[in-house]
Point group: C2
Chain length 421, copies 2
């Protein structure tokens, strides 16, 4: 028999403890910031009925980018490519009993069948933040502010990123003013979304087939259209209000559309200002008609998503780090001989009962090699615990970063570990 | 168009915020206990190459209980039914560079295509704890002690559960002593694993077809077999050592085998002592030959898994609860009129900057209805923030559980929230 491969499935990641500690540190920071805004975490299975993505809930309409299969009971199942349809389904499922507005977030893994390349995996984690049941500009303002607060909570400055804002309602009104019909308007919005992914000439030709104008010209030439004037004012008011609330880096971008058909109002993306990192970090917008696909009256909603890979790239680019050692062992308990292990475990139990994180040696290595092992594992403190220590009830604790050693009674150790000194 | 269904896919769960808070509280407790033992968290994608389960890594050999499908690149993909093969794959992948022993845990969701019924979902979360690279009895002792510590960390007493322990090595030696060949031995172990799932007569008949003896008789009648004597002594020594370390509820159960073929030594299960809850809470054992299926020398390993559904049942049965309000909003900021919302958001920003979790009203409800909304959401404190409060720089904070109100300067509020009084 040949050996089994140790590779993971193509395009997905293994998270070894140091990798996962970094992910968890990002998630912990997000959770803390969102809790301060009153957002509560929800979750769902990655398995969804395929029909959820075949209605108008998603751009992933029987797309080549979804994982869809048939189960043994002949049900068509999709691994969720995004969280918003699930959010809408869950809100709709409890709309009668649930207090609205709901401030919700989730950090699901989402799946797309893509050719693996830098930053484009088949599975990634995506923070989703949504404010459901509030249709006001206040709700738009809050969600965009939350998005910027998240980046600031990681230490980012306003000069590190820019918030590009547009309005689907404004674009649609401008298309109507330019006498594009519904089909042409929709084609125009889809084309704009693909602009950065196609050669300039190809884009220009495709645009010319619909209208001679770029989006800004379309909006500015709308003349006396009251819809265009109203939506433009609303959008510029929002950008001004953002500045008053401490979001000074929001700008109007008439070419921004977002891919999803479900957006109805404001749309926004947050970009890294570093030109080497040109992808959107966040994308979101208002989707006031999605929940009603499950029945009942429309429930307005606004939200955004952010992927773990782009966030990690952003943090790296700007030299921002997140402490990821919270759950790691703080003390390595060495054993002079294997016979000392039961005693060391008993001693460790008393330290654990007082909240310490203790790693006990189980090997037959000598103490010198155990110290090397502690260093390799990144555990900051070492002490040997054997017959001498049991007899004297004193230990010598070694700070591995400095080599410094301190002798102390065992009774003082828990306090030393708690205070980290 | 008919409305979309709000149901999740069959056999999986939606986690609304209160449901997920309960799950996260369980996970947080597990993480804290395991960190104290020096265990570090890892993770992996639920997507695995199907071949991982088709070798001897698992009982799920092309089983009807796995979700397996073919991707668009003609790769056969399985949604992991258990975590141990992934653990072995990841350890094997870095065996040259990784310090051993490794103390690892993970809390993956795992998938089985089962007929949904109480406690048997198609997806559940399963804590996996493994100690890899240590073959000693000390390692067995540690892992079983960790399992019991986890239950105790939730407030369980020893009288609430029992640890049933057996040894695959002992059973195998007893089969050999009884002159069963390898095939008959394996059939016998599989039969024992199924004992509780089949009628007594059917089991007796199937056992009689292999040997006249039950496992205890098989062991006790082994006479002078040195293998049986050695393995039996090792197992009883382990049970005695557990008692010395504070695990007084471990018992020898010669009929315990566990379903997986990969076990090689000690096997154990933890059962609820409540007779109405007869399922195993934890199951685990030693699997010293699994990692070597990926090449190289064997790396000994011992570990266990525990499902979220059985744990939650156990906690409920024994009246044990886990605080799940850590991330919930603590203050509802009411707005006398919608014009007060921007001011309330600005005030909330100052509270958030000092660590408070604040929910701001965005609706046009009157204050009385906002208070009802706060109660419905379970937010403990309420205060209105409008023009009067801005002018006077004082607020009246209402404790919703008691109706008590206290007036205080806005400057004192952050401290009051921090100290919870």
């Amino acid at each position: 028999m040949t050996d089994l491969s140790t590779d993971p499935y193509k395009g997905v990641r293994d998270f070894y403890p140091t990798d996962w500690a970094r992910m968890q540190a990002m998630f912990t920071r997000m959770r803390a910031t969102l809790a301060q805004w009153g957002y509560e975490e929800y979750a769902a299975s990655p398995l969804e009925r395929a029909e959820l993505y075949e209605a108008k809930t998603s751009e992933e309409i029987v797309s080549e980018q979804t994982y869809t299969f048939t189960d043994r009971g002949d049900r068509r199942v999709t691994l969720r490519p995004e969280m918003t349809p699930t959010l809408a389904r869950m809100i709709a499922g409890k709309r009668r009993e649930m207090p609205l507005p709901a401030r919700w977030f989730s950090i699901p893994n989402v799946f797309r069948y893509e050719r693996p390349q830098k930053g484009r995996l088949r599975e990634h984690y995506q923070l989703n933040v949504d404010l459901v049941g509030a249709g006001s500009a206040e709700a738009d303002l809050e969600v965009i502010t939350v998005a910027t607060d998240l980046l600031k909570s990681f230490g980012a400055k306003e000069s590190d990123f820019v918030v590009r804002v547009n309005s689907r309602a404004l674009l649609t009104a401008a298309c109507t003013a330019a006498e594009l019909n519904a089909e042409a308007s929709r084609a125009y919005l889809h084309l704009l979304d693909k602009k950065n992914k196609m050669p300039a000439e190809e884009f220009a030709a495709a645009q010319a087939a619909i209208t001679a104008k770029d989006p800004l010209a379309l909006i500015e030439d709308a003349g006396t259209s009251p819809d265009v004037a109203r939506e433009k004012k609303a959008l510029l008011d929002t950008i001004e209000a953002l500045a008053r609330r401490g979001v000074g880096n929001a700008v109007f971008d008439p070419t921004l559309t977002r891919g999803f058909d479900y957006y109805t109002g404001i749309v926004f993306e947050i970009f890294d200002t570093n030109p080497e990192n040109p992808r959107a970090l966040f994308g979101g917008g208002r989707f006031d008609r999605l929940v009603a696909l499950f029945g009942g009256d429309p429930i307005p909603a606004v939200g955004f998503g952010m992927g773990d890979v782009t966030l990690a790239d952003f943090l790296l680019t700007h030299g921002l780090t997140v402490a990821d050692t919270d759950g790691r062992p703080e003390l390595y308990l060495g054993t002079p001989s294997p016979e000392d292990i039961p005693g060391a475990q008993a001693f460790a139990a008393t330290l654990r009962a007082q909240g310490s994180r203790v790693f006990v040696n189980l090997t037959e290595k000598n103490l010198g090699d155990q110290i090397k092992d502690a260093v390799k594992r990144g555990i900051p403190l070492f002490l040997a615990y054997g017959a001498n220590e049991v007899a004297s009830q004193t230990v010598r604790m070694k700070v591995l970063a400095t080599g410094e050693e301190v002798g102390l009674p065992v009774s003082e150790l828990p306090l030393r570990l708690r205070t980290g000194s």
